[in-house]
């Protein structure tokens, strides 16, 4: 029993409530937000692995069938959860740091949304209870809408309303799927459902079980922004403030992997589950990257690239072997860091020039060499260039798909990487290297120091993960081995 596990959710949630309650006292909420932000990555690193049962209801053994039942909402905390929660905590801290240095008057309600989103994804990845997952999935959707609507970019309200309307189709459908599962098993605890399914107490080919997969899968598509939701997902990234977008994409990635791991545990006996995931991942990769190639707004372009990269994660999970799952989860970790770096870096450019169209920009390398070089390294990492972290995970994915007997998927993976590289080089050229247009005025010559600091920290993480991937992959591999048993 470890008391630090529930604190990972409770601390950001309490901080969110306090911040919105005391939003009149500017100094107080600034200090509180910073302190909690520092605490967020430390708590998971200090905590021990284990399970936490809310209310202290220990699991009960049914003496007749000898099956363990979990009456309480259970949080399970392992290496995978630790590394992802620590990464989101670090990102939240950086985002809050950027926000607090950018605005003199901190808005309590905006900080509320940021912390609430962090609490929601932390609960999503920790939970072992399928309804608990649904509740936090809804809270996360509301927080995301709030973050988008709070930005001062044109048309952000429209995008937030579109996201909300699509969400209010996606989440009841997911609830219906959970209802189907509940009707078949009578429990909402994932471990119990898995033991019922594996124990053969349930007909896995019955239409009700298959439909529950379909409905939960649709909700997952909405949460992760795979097609048909890739346009709205890239849209909300481009309409949020850059630091908000950096956090939003990490929310997306984590909700994607946490829901898909729960689905994987329940439905992995059905071959059609893996077919579905691979199908949608391939479509996401093709559509995301090809749409990114035609964008002229660079925020939208990064948004589409981020959606395309999600396809890689889905591919790793869809292949279903231990190596492939490890590769997919490692890719998820890399994507959180790299995309955050790109959003923050391009946000710095928007801050300096007030311009988002690549055609109207040019010659910025002379003005912002530091930002330019860090962005270049980040883009190369996303495309999968050797010493960086994106290379390691993509190489693992290529090897995994080859060893599973799908060379077509390896070819597709490499092609998408190359196209990502093209997108990035094209944008980098037209923004930083091409001659400066006459009517472009570089309004604010200083890029905020906090943004450069955040980018430097993320860059260190990228290079460290690229040079020493074993630090993460061996632990994730052990965790995945436990899932596949």
């Amino acid at each position: 029993m470890n008391e630090l596990i529930p604190l990972m959710v409770i601390v950001p949630m309490m901080a969110a409530l306090l911040l919105s309650a005391f939003s009149r006292f500017n100094k107080v909420i600034k200090c509180l937000a910073l302190v909690v932000g520092i605490c967020l990555p430390i708590i998971p690193l200090a905590s021990n692995y284990g399970l936490h049962f809310f209310g202290g209801y220990q699991p009960m053994v049914d003496n007749v069938t000898n099956i363990l039942y979990h009456p309480a909402i259970t949080y399970s905390f392992d290496f995978m959860q630790q590394i992802f929660i620590a990464m989101v905590g670090l990102l939240t801290f950086l985002v809050i740091f950027i926000y607090l240095t950018k605005y003199k008057k901190a808005s309590g309600s905006y900080l509320f949304l940021l912390f609430m989103g962090t609490a929601a994804v932390t609960a999503l990845i920790l939970t072992d209870d399928i309804f608990h997952m649904f509740v936090f999935f809804e809270i996360l959707a509301l927080a995301q809408v709030g973050i988008v609507a709070a930005s001062s970019i044109d048309y952000s309200y429209e995008m937030a309303l579109k996201y909300m309307i699509l969400g209010s189709i996606g989440s009841p459908i997911m609830l219906l799927g959970i209802g189907f599962l509940l009707a078949m098993t009578g429990t909402v605890n994932v471990t119990d459902i898995v033991s019922i399914v594996r124990g053969g107490l349930l007909d896995v080919t019955s239409p009700v079980f298959l439909l529950s997969l379909g409905l939960i899968f649709f909700g997952w598509l909405y949460a992760s922004g795979l097609p048909p939701f890739h346009t709205i997902k890239s849209g909300i990234y481009s309409k949020a403030e850059p630091h908000g977008a950096a956090l939003l994409q990490s929310f997306t990635v984590i909700s994607m992997i946490s829901i898909v791991l729960i689905m994987f545990r329940i439905y992995s006996t059905l071959p059609i589950f893996e077919v579905l995931i691979v199908l949608f991942s391939v479509v996401a990769m093709i559509l995301g990257v090809s749409m990114a190639l035609t964008q002229t707004d660079f925020r939208r372009m990064i948004g589409f690239l981020a959606v395309g990269e999600l396809g890689f994660i889905g591919l790793g999970i869809g292949l279903g072997t231990q190596y492939a799952l490890t590769a997919g989860l490692f890719q998820a970790l890399n994507e959180i860091v790299i995309t955050a770096l790109l959003f923050i870096g391009f946000g710095a450019i928007v801050h300096a020039t007030n311009e988002v169209d690549t055609r109207k920009l040019g010659g910025l390398l002379a003005y912002h060499p530091k930002v330019g070089i860090m962005l270049l390294i980040g883009g190369l990492a996303m495309a999968g260039v050797p010493p960086l972290s994106g290379f390691q995970s993509k190489l693992m994915l290529v090897q995994a798909s080859l060893s599973c007997g799908y060379p077509e998927l390896s070819i597709l993976t490499i092609m998408v990487s190359i196209a990502t590289f093209v997108v990035f080089v094209k944008t980098f050229y037209s923004m930083f290297l091409s001659p400066k247009p006459h009517d472009l005025e570089v309004v604010d010559n200083e890029v905020p120091k906090a943004m450069v600091f955040a980018m430097a920290i993320l860059l260190i993480v990228i290079i460290a993960l690229g040079l020493f991937p074993d630090v993460v992959t061996s632990g994730i591999s052990n965790y995945v081995g436990g899932l596949l048993l």
């Binding site: 699509l166 379909g214 059609i272 090809s290 749409m291 190639l293 077509e408 093209v422």
Partner: protein, 111 residues
Amino acid sequence: MRLYDQIFNVVKKFKELFSPGPVTNADVSGSITAEIFIIVSIVIAALLLRHVSLLLAALATLILAIVLINNIPLLPKFKIEQEDSLEKMLFYAVFVLGLIVIFLYWGGTLV
């Protein structure tokens, strides 16, 4: 020569695709890359059908290749279908929901 003309036509079509403003050669080359990328990746993805049936994969690949190359300015069509209007997003969301449900209900036990 017909294919060349078609590709040249693509470049002309691309001008309508971008929002008003100057269209640079970087954008056009990006769009041509996207065009080729879509064709090749869809054809390669169709090869995955060989795990179901070899004949089906061969047929699907051939038919897809011919259809895609004959309709060559593909990108404007793709882009119009993926614009930001709520109506299109909702239509595709409900359409995909229907597809998933039908696919799982009738095909779930086959794969």
